[in-house]
């Protein structure tokens, strides 16, 4: 069999996804998203340092539907990367490497991400309304 005809691994059409591999891919994807999100932070700080008008323009954009959607995506990516990053650091010191811990930690990361996102937005939006 020539190299070109060999099946790729993982063969995506018949690949059964697992929590572990999906979370690994998501860690990288959220990392890339946060790279772009950090540029948003610099834009915000730059506008604030330039004066009230540029700052107001950025605040107006962030308060729009697109801005809020970007901020929401940024917050989900941030909390996921933070929680899953702690899971990685835990593995790096040699803990939690049994299969059950790997899966348990994975679900805990997803639950924490959801909880932190919901709490942050609940507090933030109630703050905004006042």
């Amino acid at each position: 069999m020539s190299p070109a005809e060999r099946p790729l691994s993982p063969h995506l059409q018949v690949y059964r996804w697992q929590l572990t591999s999906v979370m690994s891919i998501l860690h990288r994807a959220t990392g890339v998203a946060l790279s772009l999100g950090t540029i948003l932070l610099v834009w915000w700080l730059g506008a604030a340092s330039d004066g009230p008008e540029p700052y107001a323009a950025v605040q107006h954009f962030l308060g729009s539907w697109i801005g809020l959607l970007l901020l929401f995506g940024w917050s989900v990516a941030l909390f996921y990367h933070l929680c899953n990053g702690l899971r990685h650091l835990w593995w790096d010191i040699g803990r939690g490497l049994e299969l059950s811990s790997v899966y348990g930690g994975g679900w805990a990361v997803l639950a924490s991400t959801a909880a932190l996102t919901i709490v942050s937005w609940a507090v933030g939006l109630s703050h905004w309304a006042h």
Partner: protein
């Protein structure tokens, strides 16, 4: 007889004692990249949590209130540390992704240099903005 039953010559160390002591391996940088990624990650845990809480507290703040907050003065210090740690960690992470997916030698080097340049550029822009607010009249 399978590999793991082979007598001792199969288990002879592949590396010289000197190579083992220096510990740099085939990538010539040992665990340096790995370690820096972990240390910057650890630094980002408290910085990120502080930043999220600060942003939530700043919702709806006007320009004057925002600048007053930056100058108060610890936020300026934490913001600069956050920018440095973020872009450092970003550069390390994106480096691995570029090395994984871009196989052409020239393209890979170009992408790595461009990515590093942008990380430094945005980090300096952000730090300058914070300093301007913190030190401005």
């Amino acid at each position: 007889m399978t590999d793991h039953q082979m007598p001792s010559p199969a288990h002879a160390p592949m590396r010289s004692p000197l190579g083992r002591a220096i510990g740099l391996g085939s990538a010539k940088e040992g665990v340096t990249h790995w370690w820096r990624q972990r240390v910057s990650a650890l630094a980002l845990v408290p910085l990120t949590l502080w930043f999220v809480i600060a942003v939530i507290a700043l919702v709806g703040a006007d320009h004057a209130a925002f600048v007053t907050w930056v100058r108060s003065p610890m936020p300026a210090v934490f913001l600069i540390l956050l920018l440095v740690a973020s872009f450092y960690h970003t550069a390390l992470g994106l480096q691995v992704i570029i090395e994984d997916y871009i196989h052409g030698e020239v393209m890979r080097l170009a992408a790595l240099l461009l990515m590093r340049l942008l990380c430094v550029l945005f980090a300096v822009r952000g730090i300058l903005a914070v300093l301007k607010m913190a030190l401005g009249a």
